[in-house]
Subunit: 352 residues, 2 copies
DNA sequence: TTTTTCACCTAAATTGTTTTAGAAATCAAA
DNA sequence: TTTGATTTCTAAAACAATTTAGGTGAAAAA
C-alpha cells in the first residue's frame, strides 16, 4: 500500500473582520448587511452593495460555530430511529432530509437499535450538539425517559411510535389499529379463517401494541377460529428460530392451526419469507400472507406480498414541518396527527 | 386536531463559569480539570475532586459551539452518498455510524442524487459546518470539483467511487474490474454465451467505468459471441422503459441475442427483476441473471439472485478509520485501499 | 444661530470555551 | 534576608459572530 506525506498550507477562513477591514467599515455593519438587516438599519445602498460584493469576492462563509454560540441556533434537527439501515427508516429519513433542506436545516441522524440506554444517550448527545429540534421514533414505553428533552426545552416530535395520548407532545403516526383491522378484514374476505398475527417483542412499543390491539378487535369482530390464541409474540433477538418453530408446530401438519399469517412489521415479514422459501411453503395456496409496512421488495418476491402501507412521505415531511414551526414560532403549540394506512393487495393474499 | 399552548420555563444551561463561581475558583481551573489537564497543570487533588463533583452535581455539559469555535473541532464527519434510501448506502452509513460513534464522532449524512450541483453544495454546507473530515461517494468524474475541500484543508476519503489513481487522496473501494470478471466468468461456466451487461449513465462514475472495463476484458478473454455489442448503456432517468426495450428487442424473439444479463448495480437489477416479473421471463432457464452489489432482497426473490458482493462492513469501517487517523494525526498521509469482491451464487445463474 | 431631525454608521458587550503567560504564596537554599 | 524553586492558581486573549445602545455630521427647522 503506497503511502505519501504531504503538508498542505492551511488557508485560513475569511471572517467578518476581514471584510470589514478591507472596506474600512465596522463588523457590525458587515454583519447587518449580510443578514439582510441593512435596510432596517439604514445602511446606504452603495455600502450594502460594496459589502455584498466583497463578501462574494472573498468567498465569505459565516462561521457555524460562532453564529451558533451567539444565537443559540444550529439549524440542525436531530433524528433518532431504531435502525437507519431498515428500509422503512432509510426512506423516512430521506424524505425528512429533503424537506429539512428546503427549509435550510440539516439532519443529525442516529440509530438506537431499540435500546433504551442507547436512545437516551443519543438524545443527550443531540441536545449537547445544540440541535434546534428532535424527531424521535422511540423504543421507550413512555415519556419518562424524555426528561432530558423536556429539561432542555428543545421542541420535539414523536414519529410513528407515539405514546398514550398526550396533548402536551407533538406526535405524528398512523392509525395502526385501523391498519391491522384492514389487514385481517382483507384476509377474511379472501376466505382465510385461521389468521395468526406474528408480533414481536418488545410489545410496549406503541406501534406493536396498537397493531396487536387492531388484530384482537378484528378477531372479535369476525369471530375468528381460535380467537386470540393465534397471537404469537416472537423474540426480537431470535426471530428466525421462533418463526421456524411456529411454522413447524402450527402449519406443517395435516390439520394446520393457521391458514394465514399477518406479520406485524417488515422485520418479521422478511424472516417469514425466508422461512417460507426454505421450507417450500406455498403462499397463498397453503398460507395467506400479509405484512404491516410496505417495502420495495414486496413487489419482487413470488408471490408478491400484500401489505398495509404507511404514508411515509406525508409522515416524514409533516414531522419536519411540525418541528420547524415549533422552532421558529417559539410558541409551544403541540399538535397530534394520525394518518390513514392503505391496504395494498398483491398476490400473497389472493387464493385462486 | 386538538391544539394547546404551553409556556415552558427555559432552564438555562450550566457553564464553566457557574461551576467556577460556585466554587470560588477560575474558569481556567475548571476547564483544565474537566479536560483531564489538572495533573499536568498542578491542580491539587482536592480541588480537582471538588470541581468534578460540582460538575456532576450541576449536570454540566460543555457547549458544543463554544468549544468548536475555540478549538476548530466538531467531532463530526460529513458523509455524502448519492441516496441514503438506497439499501447499499443505508447499510454503509449504518456501519459508519457505529464505527464513528465508537471513536466519539457523529455523522452528518446527506444525499446528492447523483447531481454534481447538489453534491458541490452539500460539500460546501458540510465544510461550513466545520466537519472534521469528509467521506464522499462522489458522482463527479474527477477531482476538480473537490477544490472546495482542498482549499479548506479538511481531510477526506473517497469511498466506493474513486477517481483515477491519485496518490494524494485517500480512497477505499473494491476491485470492480475483478468483480465484473468474476461475474462473467461464472456465467460462462454455467454455459451462458451471449452475455449482456446492462450499464447505466452517467458512465464516468468510476464504479460504472471499471465494471464495464471488467466486462469488456472478460468478453475478450472468453471470446464471447457478439462481443462488446451486448454492452448496453441505460438512461438513469428512464431505467424502466429502456430495460423493457432491451428485453423486447433482444430477448423476446425466437433467436434471442442475449442469454444472460449482468446488471451493473442494484438499481438496474431491481428494475430488471420487475420487468422479468411483468413479462413472465423465466430466470435462469431462458435467461441467466447476475448483479453487482448484493442486497437483502436477492435472497427472497424467485429465483434468488446471484451477485457480486462488496465487503460493505470493511469498506465502511475502514473509511471511518482512515479519516479519523487523518483528523487526529494532523499529518496528511494518504492511503489507497482496494478490497476484493465476493461471488455469491444463487438460483438465478444455475441452469438445470 | 441654535436646535432638531435624519441618514448612516460604530464601539463594546456577549456567547462559553481553551490556552498562554504569568501571579501569588510557601518553603528551601544561599 | 534575599534569591530561587515549587506549588497552585488566575487574568485575559482568542475564537467569530450578533446585537444593544448610541455616536457623528449634515441638512432642515426654529
Amino acid at each position: 500500500m503506497p503511502i505519501k506525506y504531504y503538508f498542505v498550507m492551511k488557508k485560513d477562513k475569511i471572517s467578518l473582520k476581514d471584510i470589514a477591514n478591507s472596506l474600512g467599515v465596522s463588523t457590525t455593519l458587515v454583519s447587518l448587511v449580510l443578514n439582510n438587516k441593512g435596510e432596517v438599519h439604514g445602511i446606504s445602498k452603495e455600502t450594502q452593495a460594496k459589502v455584498i460584493a466583497k463578501a462574494k469576492e472573498l468567498n465569505y462563509m459565516p462561521s457555524f460555530m460562532a453564529r451558533g454560540l451567539r444565537t443559540g441556533r444550529s439549524f440542525t434537527i436531530g433524528v433518532v430511529v431504531s435502525d437507519i439501515s431498515n428500509p422503512f427508516y432509510s426512506r423516512m429519513v430521506r424524505y425528512m432530509e429533503d424537506e429539512a433542506s428546503k427549509n435550510g436545516y440539516t439532519l443529525l441522524i442516529s440509530s438506537s437499535d431499540e435500546s433504551h440506554n442507547k436512545e437516551s444517550k443519543l438524545i443527550k448527545m443531540l441536545i449537547d450538539r445544540q440541535v434546534d429540534g428532535l424527531i424521535i421514533s422511540s423504543s421507550q414505553p413512555n415519556l419518562s425517559f424524555l426528561s432530558d428533552v423536556e429539561a432542555s426545552s428543545i421542541p420535539y416530535v414523536l414519529i410513528d411510535r407515539v405514546f398514550e395520548d398526550n396533548l402536551n407532545v407533538n406526535t405524528i403516526s398512523v392509525d395502526n389499529i385501523q391498519g391491522s383491522y384492514k389487514a385481517v378484514e382483507h384476509l377474511v374476505s379472501q376466505g382465510y379463517k385461521k389468521i395468526a398475527m406474528l408480533a414481536v417483542t418488545p410489545i410496549y412499543v406503541s406501534t406493536i401494541r396498537e397493531r396487536i390491539d387492531g388484530y384482537l378487535r378484528s378477531v372479535d369482530a369476525f369471530n375468528l377460529e381460535y380467537g386470540s390464541e393465534l397471537l404469537v409474540e416472537l423474540d426480537f433477538y431470535n426471530l428466525r428460530q421462533s418463526i421456524l418453530n411456529i411454522i413447524n408446530s402450527m402449519i406443517l401438519k395435516p390439520e394446520p392451526e393457521i391458514d394465514a399469517i399477518f406479520a406485524i412489521n417488515n422485520n418479521v415479514a422478511v424472516e417469514c419469507l425466508k422461512s417460507f422459501k426454505e421450507l417450500g411453503i406455498e403462499v397463498p395456496q397453503n398460507l395467506g400472507f400479509i405484512s404491516f409496512d410496505d417495502i420495495d421488495l414486496y413487489e419482487l418476491t413470488s408471490p408478491s406480498v400484500s401489505a398495509i402501507a404507511q404514508p411515509l412521505e406525508t409522515l416524514s415531511t409533516q414531522a419536519v414541518n411540525m418541528i420547524i414551526q415549533n422552532i421558529e414560532n417559539k410558541t409551544h403549540e403541540f399538535q397530534q396527527m394520525k394518518l390513514d394506512t392503505e391496504l395494498i393487495i398483491r398476490e400473497s393474499t389472493l387464493r385462486e
